[in-house]
Symmetry: C2
Subunit: 200 residues, 2 copies
């Protein structure tokens, strides 16, 4: 959980006295990532659009991928979830990713905001554009050389699709037996498929 | 496309003069499948709830799985899509299912109502309950012995999850490169995974 603010405009800013500035930067960042994608969005461009200095954007948000995670507004840092699964033998990568994702969803405090995010992404062009703009870059930033070429984005997206579909059926539709399977058993079924997508 | 009515209550019934009766039966069927699931729903129970004779339900809708497909309100018969993929060598089953599903989604006339259905399923408890009640039975009715035990429902659901996630990323989020891949190329990536889930 930790640092992220799901509703940064209404909630208190992390730096006292500056919630409006944070909100303006996040709004500018959402527009930039959605319109230009991750690679072509710059901290300087976001700063200009928000009417602040680039230094202030760095001061509030750190790097560009930190800014993207804050702009997404999910209730945890997806880099941490994925990053926790990267350590270990390469053969078990798929299993560890599946288990880390399922544990995140199985945690009730994170599930509700995740469900809200998922429903919004299905109906909001801006949220879809934000995901489109930055998701593959964010995942590849963590997975890096673990996902071989020539098309690592495609590999990551096929694996993401498997987990996304499982999340919809397990947590939204609540289809049995998928909804009641213990996370480690389900991860055992999904691991080889993620491994195939990412590395096969 | 063919026979199904996406909006059976407002549209004309398939039998002239009886649109309200059809609508009443469909409403009763949706409630029954959602509350009781496919196995425990009976044509007789639906007829009683709709205030008509069981014969009339059969006359309008044929069998119980026909009634379920009409109740779902999707713009095509999922049994036909899946059924078209069943014929052929068992080794290519996953590839054929992936291609049949992608071609259905790639067809613009079917994509729009499918997207509407998907968004509704994400937010409507009744539509989610309807899917939950009948989807595995419907798929297994077509796939039958092609999916081995001990838990064929789980196999079908994991394969369904893969295709559902791909549909969300390709058609809703429109994530590249997934959104622009030719259907046959994408089917070539998904086929082995569906084969693994269904048969592996």
């Amino acid at each position: 959980m930790g640092q992220s603010d799901a509703e940064p405009i209404r909630g208190p800013g992390r730096r006292p006295g500056a919630p409006d500035t944070r909100g303006a930067i996040l709004a500018a960042a959402r527009t930039a990532f959605a319109e230009r994608g991750f690679e072509r969005t710059t901290m300087r461009g976001v700063a200009t659009a928000a009417g602040v200095t680039p230094g202030l954007v760095h001061h509030f948000f750190g790097g560009k991928d930190d800014l993207f995670v804050e702009a997404l507004g999910v209730p945890f840092d997806p880099r941490q979830v994925l990053g926790s699964a990267v350590d270990g033998p390469i053969d078990g990568l798929g299993d560890r990713i599946a288990l880390a994702v399922l544990r995140t969803w199985d945690d009730e405090q994170r599930r509700q905001p995740l469900l809200a995010f998922l429903r919004t992404a299905m109906t909001s062009d801006q949220v879809a554009a934000l995901l489109r703009g930055g998701m593959p870059a964010l995942a590849l930033g963590v997975l890096g050389d673990l996902v071989p070429g020539p098309d690592p984005e495609q590999r990551v997206e096929l694996a993401f699709a498997q987990m996304l579909g499982v999340a919809v059926l397990r947590y939204v539709v609540r289809l049995e037996p998928l909804a009641s399977l213990p996370a480690d058993e389900l991860a055992g079924r999904l691991g080889p498929v993620l491994q195939h997508h990412l590395r096969g």
